[in-house]
Structures are given as structure tokens and as C-alpha cells.
């Protein structure tokens, strides 16, 4: 085996690594909430009979899904400060790398979630919204009380699986030098020359978290299958 390992480096850099993990989790939580929220709106727009809504929504979703995640991160990293400075009149520095990363992740995830949610909405029989309308409900009441609750329930396992993928994808902010969990490990590795230990540690932590989450989703799926 090549050389001896020094695992104490992980303990020595525990604070930096923990900060990195917090950044990853924060990015994950915001991207998840934003992605589901805007993904729902995108899905509704795509299903609209109004072409002025459905066509741009379809265009955005297909565009984002056709390019690499990293390309999308580069795009929003470049565009966000420009657009923000246009509205506020301030220079680009007003927007930090974290904000740009958040915008990029929300945009990309909303495109991915919109496809899941669209499939979920389409899985609800047309008679359900018809019955809601027949009771005098408006479009938003029918969506909010009847269609979306059922769609989200049907789609819950898929949405959680996508959340695990999203959590893994947060490591991609490495390309814009944001110090997430992987970035913090990378930095510590450069300072100490112990990248082998640090990258192995990162891999093990991600594996444990994602494996446990996937296992939980599988359990939930089995329970939902019985309940149905």
C-alpha cells in the first residue's frame, strides 16, 4: 500500500469540515424548498391551455435538462450578479457566491421537479378536478385542495429520491469555489497534503447519509404500496 495514512487530519479540521457540511445542508434545504415551489408553478404553467404560459415553461425546462448541471451553475453564477445589479444599481459584488449558487440550484431543481410534479398531476384522473369544479371551486381551490395533495402523495417516493440526488449534487458548487463539505475537505487537503484521507472521509460521510436516506425512502414506498 502506498504510504501510511494520517486520519488525525480529519479531527484537526473538524470545524472547517462541519462549516462546510452546514453550507451543503443550507444549500440543499433552500434548493429543495425553492425547487419544489417553482417546480410546481412550472408544472402548472406547462399544463396550462394558455400557450403564452406553457411554451416558455416547456422551453425553460427542456433547456435546463439538456445542459450539464455545471454549465447551468456557470450560467447563473454569471447572470445573477448582472441581473441583480441591473435592478439595484449596485455593482456585481453585492451578490455573493452563495446567493448565485442558490439561484442556480433553485433554477435547475425547479426544472427537474417540474417534470416529476407534472407527471404527478397527470396521474390524477380528470374526474377529480371536474368534481371539484362542479362543487363551485375555482382553479386554485381545485389544485390546492384536490389535485396537488393527491399528486404529491403519489409522487412522494420519487420526490424524496430526487432530494437524495439533489443532496449529492450540492457537491458541484465546488466548481465555483464555494466551501461546501467537499470544498472544505479539498481546502484542508491542499493545506496538509492529506487529500487521500480527506476525500475518503467525504465519500464515507456522503455514502452513510445517502444510503440511510435511500433506505428510508424504500421503506416508505413499501408502506405506501400497502396502504393503497
Amino acid at each position: 500500500m502506498g504510504g501510511e495514512f494520517d486520519w488525525t487530519v480529519i479531527w484537526k479540521y473538524r470545524e472547517a469540515l462541519w462549516d462546510g457540511m452546514l453550507t451543503s445542508l443550507k444549500l440543499f434545504a433552500i434548493a429543495l424548498a425553492g425547487g419544489i415551489f417553482f417546480g410546481t408553478l412550472l408544472a402548472l404553467a406547462r399544463l396550462s391551455s394558455w400557450k403564452a404560459l406553457s411554451l416558455p415553461a416547456a422551453g425553460f425546462v427542456n433547456l435546463i435538462r439538456a445542459i450539464p448541471f455545471i454549465m447551468a451553475i456557470f450560467w447563473f453564477y454569471f447572470l445573477t450578479p448582472m441581473i441583480v445589479s441591473k435592478f439595484t444599481g449596485q455593482q456585481g459584488e453585492a451578490v455573493g457566491p452563495f446567493t448565485s449558487a442558490v439561484v442556480a440550484f433553485i433554477m435547475v431543481e425547479s426544472a427537474y421537479y417540474s417534470e416529476i410534479i407534472r407527471a404527478g398531476i397527470q396521474s390524477i384522473p380528470r374526474g377529480q378536478p371536474a368534481a371539484a369544479y362542479a362543487l363551485g371551486m375555482t382553479y386554485w381551490q381545485s389544485m390546492g385542495h384536490i389535485v396537488l395533495p393527491q399528486a404529491f402523495r403519489n409522487m412522494l417516493p420519487v420526490m424524496l429520491t430526487q432530494a437524495v440526488i439533489l443532496f449529492q449534487d450540492t457537491s458541484l458548487v465546488y466548481v465555483v469555489a464555494l466551501k461546501d463539505f467537499l470544498g472544505a475537505a479539498s481546502k484542508a487537503g491542499q493545506l496538509t497534503g492529506r487529500i487521500v484521507e480527506l476525500y475518503l472521509f467525504v465519500a464515507v460521510v456522503f455514502f452513510i447519509l445517502c444510503f440511510a436516506a435511500s433506505w428510508g425512502v424504500k421503506r416508505l414506498q413499501a408502506r405506501l404500496a400497502v396502504a393503497r
Binding site: I195, V196, Y199
Partner: protein, 255 residues
């Protein structure tokens, strides 16, 4: 907007910035194609293993899928490139880092070595193999159970049943998801830029850094990604129609 920028001479490689883009596209496609062959091969073996009656083969297959699916792709890229040469016997690791790059000089103004290319292919291929394995497994398991029984009843051995009955049908089911797996590799290949492979995304960023024409550089790369994606989808639709079994598998397209 200044699209003429692509016709200007780039600072290296003896070509224009447009040449950089083509070089990036070439390496994106080269990495993707090699990784897809690897993913298809390994993924098929793992996927079939998960459907056999052999408990140890199923366990190994499951372990493979869980391991590769639950570690971020970018972390896997670093494991192959930075960690692997350090944990294998030192002579081998040194060979990977020092001698392998000298085996041949990569064409098309690569600016990186065979070792970076190999690590990227290994990473993308073995990662995607876990996804392919799941598609193959579900393809096989979606077939009616009676098919295997009928094959065995005719006196075929289990490998013969797989070879002549199960797999020919399963792969027809699996082909549409394989299209999206190729597109997944194609998009994921941009993570190779983190270990120095100058593929399309990396080249567009490099152009933006040299020329400050970020919008033009990103737009050009984005358009190329879209064109390739649409081309692959069209090609695969044609292929699906060719292999569709008449009267079976509606998603084979072409009604």
C-alpha cells in the same frame, strides 16, 4: 454581442476559439462514448447478476449499485483521480501518474493526458453502470415469469434461457432508458473538468476567461449541448422503432 470572437486566434493549440469549442466537443463525446460502453457492459453484468437465483451474485450486484449510487459523482471523480493511485501498490500508482501519460499524446489539442482521460472514463462509466444495472434488472423483471418457465420446460439451461429468451426481450424494453443514460453521461461528463479534462464546458469557461465574452462563450456551448441532445433523441427513436417487436411493448414507438 460579439460573435466574431470565435474566429480570433486562441492563445494556445494553434487554432481559433471556435477550434477550442470543437476540441471541447470532441473530448466530451470521446469521454461519453467510452464511458457509455463501459457502463453498458458493467451495468449489464451487474443487472443480470441481480436477477439470478444465486444469492451471492445478487448480493454483490446490490452492493455495487448501492455503493456507486450513494456517493456524489464529483467525489467519485476525485476518488479515481486523486485517491486511487495512492492506495494501490506504489509502483502501479506511479505508473498511472507518470508513465501512462507518456504512452501516447492525445490528439486534438487536448492539453491533458491519457491518465486524466482514463480516470474520467472509469468514473463516469462505473457510476453510470449502477444506473444501467437498475434498468436492466427492471427490464428483466418486467417480463412475464412464464417466459423463463417455458424456456426451462423446453429443456434449455438457465444461461440458455437468458441468452435466447430473457435478454433479447429485456433489452428491447431497456433501450429507451439507455438513450437517457447516454444523455446523462453526456451531461455528467462536464464533471471531468474538475480533474483537468478540457471538455466542452471547460473550454467555454476558458474562452470566457481569456476573452471576457462570457455570454457568447456560454451560449455557444449551450447550443452545442442542445443540438447533440436532440440528435441523440432522434437517432434513438429511429433505433427503437427498428427493434420493436410487433404487437409487444407499446413504448417501442411507431404506431
Amino acid at each position: 454581442m460579439d460573435w466574431k470572437i470565435f474566429l480570433e486566434q486562441a492563445p494556445s493549440g494553434g487554432m481559433t476559439y471556435l477550434g477550442w469549442l470543437w476540441s471541447g466537443l470532441f473530448w466530451t463525446l470521446a469521454v461519453s462514448a467510452c464511458a457509455w460502453v463501459l457502463a453498458f457492459t458493467v451495468g449489464s453484468v451487474v443487472g443480470i447478476a441481480r436477477t439470478t437465483p444465486l444469492a451471492w451474485a445478487r448480493a454483490l450486484g446490490t452492493a455495487y449499485v448501492e455503493l456507486f449510487r450513494n456517493i456524489p459523482l464529483l467525489v467519485q471523480m476525485f476518488l479515481w483521480y486523486f485517491v486511487m493511485p495512492e492506495v494501490i501498490p506504489k509502483a502501479w500508482g506511479d505508473w498511472l501518474k507518470q508513465d501512462m501519460p507518456n504512452l501516447l499524446t492525445l490528439p486534438f489539442a487536448a492539453q491533458f493526458s491519457l491518465w486524466e482521460f482514463t480516470a474520467a472514463v472509469l468514473c463516469l462509466g462505473l457510476y453510470t453502470a449502477s444506473r444501467v444495472a437498475e434498468q436492466v434488472r427492471s427490464g428483466i423483471q418486467s417480463l412475464p415469469r412464464g417466459q423463463v418457465a417455458a424456456g426451462l420446460a423446453m429443456g434449455l439451461t438457465l444461461p440458455q434461457v437468458y441468452r435466447h429468451v430473457t435478454l433479447p426481450m429485456a433489452y428491447r424494453i431497456v433501450i429507451p432508458p439507455m438513450t437517457s443514460e447516454f444523455l446523462t453521461i453526456f451531461k455528467n461528463s462536464s464533471t471531468a473538468l474538475t480533474i483537468g479534462v478540457l471538455e466542452l464546458t471547460a473550454q467555454s469557461r476558458q474562452i470566457s476567461e481569456y476573452t471576457f465574452k462570457t455570454f457568447e462563450a456560454f451560449t455557444a456551448a449551450t447550443l452545442i449541448y442542445i443540438v447533440i441532445t436532440m440528435t441523440v433523441i432522434l437517432l434513438m427513436r429511429t433505433l427503437e422503432r427498428r427493434v420493436a417487436v410487433p404487437g409487444y411493448i407499446a413504448q417501442g414507438g411507431g404506431h
